[in-house]
Symmetry: C2
Subunit: 341 residues, 2 copies
DNA sequence: TTGTAAGCGTTATCAA
DNA sequence: TTGATAACGCTTACAA
């Protein structure tokens, strides 16, 4: 039915020149007689020819595409406002450098397998630490990449000051005499690989909470932890779980992500539990929605957009083979006090 | 410094076999002595080898990546909640088929130029009609693609019933005796190419408004149109413009996108203008945020997630060379009455 | 069970 | 100003 895609040879034959000439017409028009260029370009247009990007990239060893790799599923990434902001930053930098962006889907495959199939010049890996076995593989394959939101000593990385952000959040609650505080953690925080906690960010936030608890001589008991997926729904579910047993209800909640906090807050509202009087809530991230909840969410702000921009810049200097002035960027966090705590 | 990426030959030499054998070890392990396979895979692992996806794709004529192409900039796409929902649907389908997703950046280039550089198996084109010259090019290049939110008679497309959604929105206002109504339109709606309006969706929504105006014998005057970018900020700016001249203020606003409506609503709130009493507002899309505004936004709902899913499915059958049962999908819209009108 | 050789669609080098 | 030829890194008949 539909004619095959035309190749460089087809154009060459149609015009009566060599393939080289056609290539030149597209890439170095100056090296050809301008009349020839016109003839070639005309024929190309007529035949609907344009150079195969794959063949081109194979030779150039560059596709003009960078990828984002993270263990989460595609739909959950797009549902997550943190990623929206992060992508905005990444997108800004891509735009600036005429790069396209690929969101690599781990799907059923392993991360490294997925990334091995991805025709990208480099990868931004979100939420995985250097010690993760999949990361180890990327490195062995000489893939260029930057870690975002993960522990890294060797590999270039971008992180925010999770620890101090978390301390400020916990301190606010503690100062206000909360003593029964639950923590909504990332699900991965409790899993480990080779005896090391895999997910650096959650661990650092948890450590911040923990140390503040210590300062106030509150004994830390892992039973305060509620592993929660990064979504509104999961936050709502966490509320139900926490509220089930009337004797054991917390007076406050620290969430490692705003989405969880917002889910919890909405569910509390729906059940007639008053925030912050009956339950104080503090989130983390300061996604735009945090301002619009009722009451507005107290949270720890991190520069999500900037994080994305910086990650791309680092990746690009890496790809260019230039030295990085700062291999481990640490961006500040800041407690934003609104009305939920 | 860093050793070059290892190629298939390196592995072959290390093991003392041919490149073919290495290829087989990865792709048809059954065709090789299982011991040989192990030796090869071991060596590959040791050398950090994995097949070059570009070379592979060149041969297979397939990359396992589909692209999304739209005239907007990358950051504005990610800031736009409509795309978040749309991407969620696209992501769901990609996940299901083990596909990765590429967001093609037009950046400074023309759309067709950008897409010509994209190593994808097919494209979902959002917001461009078939008659657009860039689309014409895609087609001539034998690129597989599906149009979303754009007029199409030949090319497969996914759209929602913009016209009737818009009519319902306008009718609600008209029934409630609003007579001075402004319309926030997409910026592209007023531009045209070859004498045809380029952006089908906005045109259809506008036509819906217009016909309802006619039904109520209100004369349509293009001065009610306020071209507005698809962002909260632009919506806020539109409010300022509309409110500038006290004699000319509308009593109601129809926005072709929720983001515009929300920007307008927020700015109205900030200025002490009461919605819906001083100004009624109706949006379009029903993004999640529409429920959380104060007052909650009355709007026209469209199935954004489903739209994305369906677009991918169509694209995949197209790529597979199979016939499409329905080349032009039209999804329903529905007026959601909340409190802003 | 393994290897040889051709080819995927380009671009780079060098010569004409 | 143009063209032959050899890469790029892999897969796949076909042969051994």
């Amino acid at each position: 039915m539909s004619a095959k895609k035309s190749r460089i040879e087809d154009v060459a034959k149609a015009v009566g020149v060599s393939a080289t000439a056609v290539s030149f017409a597209f890439n170095r028009p100056d090296r050809l007689n301008s009349k020839t260029v016109t003839r070639i370009l005309d024929a190309a247009d007529r035949l609907g020819y344009s150079p195969n990007p794959l063949a081109r990239a194979l030779l150039a060893k560059s596709t003009g595409v960078i990828g984002i790799l993270t263990p989460q599923t595609l739909p959950s990434i797009f549902k997550n406002p943190f990623f929206a902001a992060f992508h905005e930053g990444v997108g800004r930098a891509c735009e600036e450098h005429c790069l396209s962006l690929m969101i690599v889907s781990p799907a059923s495959r392993s991360l490294s397998e997925a990334s091995a199939h991805a025709p990208v010049d480099g990868l931004i890996v979100v939420g995985l630490s250097e010690s993760h076995p999949e990361i180890e593989l990327l490195r062995r394959r000489q893939m260029q990449f930057v870690i975002v939101d993960g522990d890294a000593e060797t590999v270039p990385s971008v992180n925010v000051d999770d620890y101090h952000g978390a301390r400020q959040a916990a301190n606010l609650l503690l100062e206000r005499d909360h003593r029964r505080i639950a923590c909504l953690t990332f699900e991965q925080d409790l899993s480990s690989s080779h005896g090391k906690k895999v997910y650096g960010v959650g661990r650092r936030r948890l450590e911040g909470y923990k140390h503040s608890f210590n300062d106030y001589d509150i004994l830390w008991d892992d039973s305060v932890l509620v592993p929660t997926a990064a979504s509104i729904d999961a936050g709502a579910a966490a509320f139900k779980q926490l509220w089930k047993n009337p004797k054991n209800r917390p007076t406050a909640v620290l969430a490692v992500a705003d989405v969880m906090a917002i889910g919890m807050l909405e569910e509390a509202n729906a059940r007639g539990v008053c925030v912050p009087d009956d339950l104080a809530i503090i989130g983390f991230d300061d996604i735009p929605q945090a301002q619009w909840t009722r009451p507005p969410l107290t949270t720890v702000r991190q520069p999500m957009v900037e994080k994305g921009e910086i990650a791309v810049q680092m990746l690009l200097t890496l790809i260019a083979g230039e030295p990085l002035t700062d291999r481990h960027v640490l961006l500040p966090t800041e407690l934003v006090i609104r009305k939920s705590a």
